[in-house]
Symmetry: C2
Subunit: 480 residues, 2 copies
């Protein structure tokens, strides 16, 4: 029979040795997830799910502050309703899972497991909205969706994943456009305040935007291996869906108008971003505010008089101050515990042993930079907030410095190709606005346009690919 030790003691693959294998190792060894017998479907284990809960708590509060309401739409969509989106949106064809049997009988109409709930929101809005008094409707849903993926990776691409999907309708274009940018800001602040991930925010090109959207915006993150990860999107749909689904309202002036629509979402992909932005050769490194356990207390020689009592008292004191604290009083060795919580990326480890009791002190070790300090036990509570804030800021700064160091301008197409092939990260370049140049770049290098960043730099007057007049600066990268 395996013991806990056998399962955990193996070290993980080096991060720079084989990044993909390192990633998978961290997912498993940090106990974030496990595979299941159904291919492409994973279990979110307590430690991984708790990260998602912290992301949910942060976002849900922001959504509600800004007037959004949560709903729950059915899991299953009749095929005829589902196809109504494909009729409207050329190019909308996610691979789906289809229910053909219910209660042992073949179904008269097949049911699609939601890959997204757009059509359900449209169908409902068409029923319940008739007057300007009914607007806006700003609904959000937390759920899982199913997309039948051939190749899957934990958190990054799965046949089922957890997400939130916001779907809103408004009386005016201006209000809907403000919504789309406002939600993008909330996502960007999630990176700034919770995940310690600096996102590049911008607008997608027509080639990369969602097929049914007038505009798509995204937040893009840069992984340690130099590839970009699209981490969230917001869409302005105009009145296209409204006209197709009949979502109209009588305005104050008595005229009938279609609504202006948006949608926006982030998913458990953000957990993948956390791993690949911050992790190191010892495993996960979690930013303090999203960490399920912020502080782990490890008693040294717990059998000695007073050690466990003091450790328990410290846990109680820190818990009362609202920190997320764990006291590991198991009979594993301290060294074993150190590795385990390093693997899990717990921001602070506090060691208390018999020698410390004599001096009324303990040792605090920081996961992020391995700094260790000796402090008086009764000073710990006052020190922790500053330490967490400092770690958060340093992690953000480090990630931001990495983005800056790995964002390079290209002034010729030869330079672009050389950078994109030989250097990690983004290449920024002027662009003529034509899809054919994006197509050529993708064909030549596999890189894609990530976005037209909001903060535009003027790198030149022409598109280096075709020599035509440039209309915008674009970030390109190889991406997940």
């Amino acid at each position: 029979m395996n013991t806990t030790k056998d399962k955990l003691v193996k070290s993980i693959t080096g991060r720079d040795e084989d990044f993909a294998q390192w990633y998978t190792d961290v997912c498993r060894k940090a106990e974030l997830m496990d595979y299941t017998v159904a291919k492409g479907f994973i279990i979110y284990r307590p430690y991984g799910y708790a990260i998602w809960e912290n992301i949910q708590r942060y976002l849900d509060a922001r959504f509600k502050e800004t007037g959004h309401e949560n709903v729950y739409m059915p899991l299953l969509i009749p095929e005829s309703l589902f196809n109504k989106e494909a009729e409207h949106v050329a190019g909308f064809a996610p691979e789906t899972a289809i229910v053909t049997i219910g209660g042992k009988e073949p179904l008269a109409e097949r049911l699609i497991i939601r890959p997204t709930s757009e059509v359900l929101f449209c169908d409902h809005y068409a029923k319940v909205v008739s007057s300007y008094r009914d607007l806006p409707k700003k609904y959000n849903q937390w759920c899982s969706v199913v997309r039948w993926e051939k190749t899957t990776r934990p958190f990054l691409r799965g046949s089922e994943f957890l997400w939130q999907e916001g779907h809103t309708i408004h009386a005016t274009e201006a209000e809907a456009r403000a919504e789309v940018l406002g939600m993008l800001d909330i996502y960007n602040n999630l990176g700034r305040n919770l995940l310690a991930i600096p996102f590049v925010m911008g607008r997608k090109t027509d080639k990369e935007k969602f097929a049914g959207a007038v505009e798509t915006y995204s937040i893009e993150a840069l992984m340690h291996d130099g590839k970009a990860l699209q981490s969230g999107t917001t869409h302005y749909f105009g009145t296209g869906f409204a006209e197709h689904f009949g979502i109209g309202f009588q305005d104050k002036d008595g005229t009938n108008k279609p609504v202006h629509q948006t949608s926006w979402g982030v998913s458990t992909r953000l957990i993948g971003a956390l791993i690949m932005v911050h992790g190191d050769d010892s495993g996960l490194v979690l930013p303090p505010y999203v960490a399920p356990t912020q502080i782990v207390i490890v008693p040294i020689m717990p059998g000695k008089p007073g050690v466990m009592e003091q450790a328990a008292a410290l846990k109680e004191a820190l818990t009362q101050r609202q920190f997320r604290v764990k006291l590991d009083d198991s009979d594993k060795s301290p060294g074993w515990k150190f590795s385990e919580y390093e693997m899990k990326g717990v921001p602070l480890r506090i060691e208390i042993g018999p020698r410390d009791l004599e001096t009324g002190e303990c040792v605090i070790a920081r996961r992020f930079d391995n700094e260790k300090i000796r402090v008086k036990l009764d000073a710990v509570g006052d020190l922790v907030p500053g330490m967490l804030a400092d770690i958060h800021q340093k992690m953000y700064d480090k990630a931001k410095a990495n983005v800056e160091a790995n964002t390079r301008p290209a002034f010729t197409y030869e330079e672009f190709k050389s950078l994109i092939e030989n250097q990690p990260g983004y290449v920024k370049m002027m662009w003529c606005g034509n899809r054919e140049c994006e197509d050529k770049i993708k064909e030549d290098t596999t890189a894609t346009s990530r976005c037209l960043p909001f903060h535009q730099e003027h790198l030149g007057d022409v598109c280096p690919v075709c020599g035509r007049e440039a209309v915008a600066e674009v970030y390109f990268a190889k991406a997940y």
Copy 2:
């Protein structure tokens, strides 16, 4: 085109005229839910979903305080794994929805949409548990499940519903049994503290318990029409699942043992209970602590100087005190708004008009008992906590008085049959412990045993049905 007014102004069916129709009317008119094109699947609209969120928030905090962790298991279960439960549990055969196509291709193995996730937890536990150090595992999951129901009613019985399912494993029987009773207590306190519903707690008979369980416990609520509603269950499974799925551990003494297992759950059925316990002819009546909106402020003659400003200031002051407050500043008439928030069961309505401003007062109206008081505006904040507490207590007391008034002892089987046919509520009676008497009761009257209440009364020495020696007092009722 319909206006908002057309849709809302119709009154609802009288509660005592046609209880079933009244129930459906309240569900729709209070905007708790809506039907969808997929039969048996409902939309949880914002107001209905917010009730569920408040239940979740209460329970999730209790679950975590008592050491439980949330996880997320896959939506789909391979048929071979699914059947492993049926092999173990005779009589386990929920009607299911089955996925046979994924990514346009027929699947090699069919996938069942979870009707419950027992087998997924068992399969995972078997993989990750090997030592006493790994125990206990106390996991919970918030999700939706699908059961293919022929006849459905909003919240009470649906092809899809929202729930939580706890699944725990323990090293000893004593610990597992304590878990099962502890979780039942948490459910009972949910009724006491949040829902204002007095539950009858007790153990199920063998006939009514879950087929795979050693013991099943339940909380039972009494609806206004006199029928009982099973509102939550907890199960002790012994080591049966552990042996069937191979969930074993090496104990401290070096021997290998199977784990002792539990499960427990409540669902959105609780929303149905709230409606049917507290509602009246004007619609929903929500207990204050579960109400999504606790206070609605309705400005009277909002065009008059100062009215909207004062209403907004009051909203701000009450929101800062953490009450859930809504200011309805729409252009609907006050009378219209009064009916709307009565229908939605908002506990307190505050009216502010120009006359009130002169005296610095407002009117507070209580939904539960229609009491109205005039109070100084600057006293409102201090008064509200006491009013909410008072309403909660009175609602609980009223519901409890209703249970007590409608729980009648039967000393002969003739008396039992007469009571169960002619009186609403529970009939309590001694019972011999044999299934054949329960079967006879069900056949004769359609009533079922609800539970063996923890607080046992000695009503006699024999079972009135068969005349054999009685072993326990049982509550019987017609039930949803």
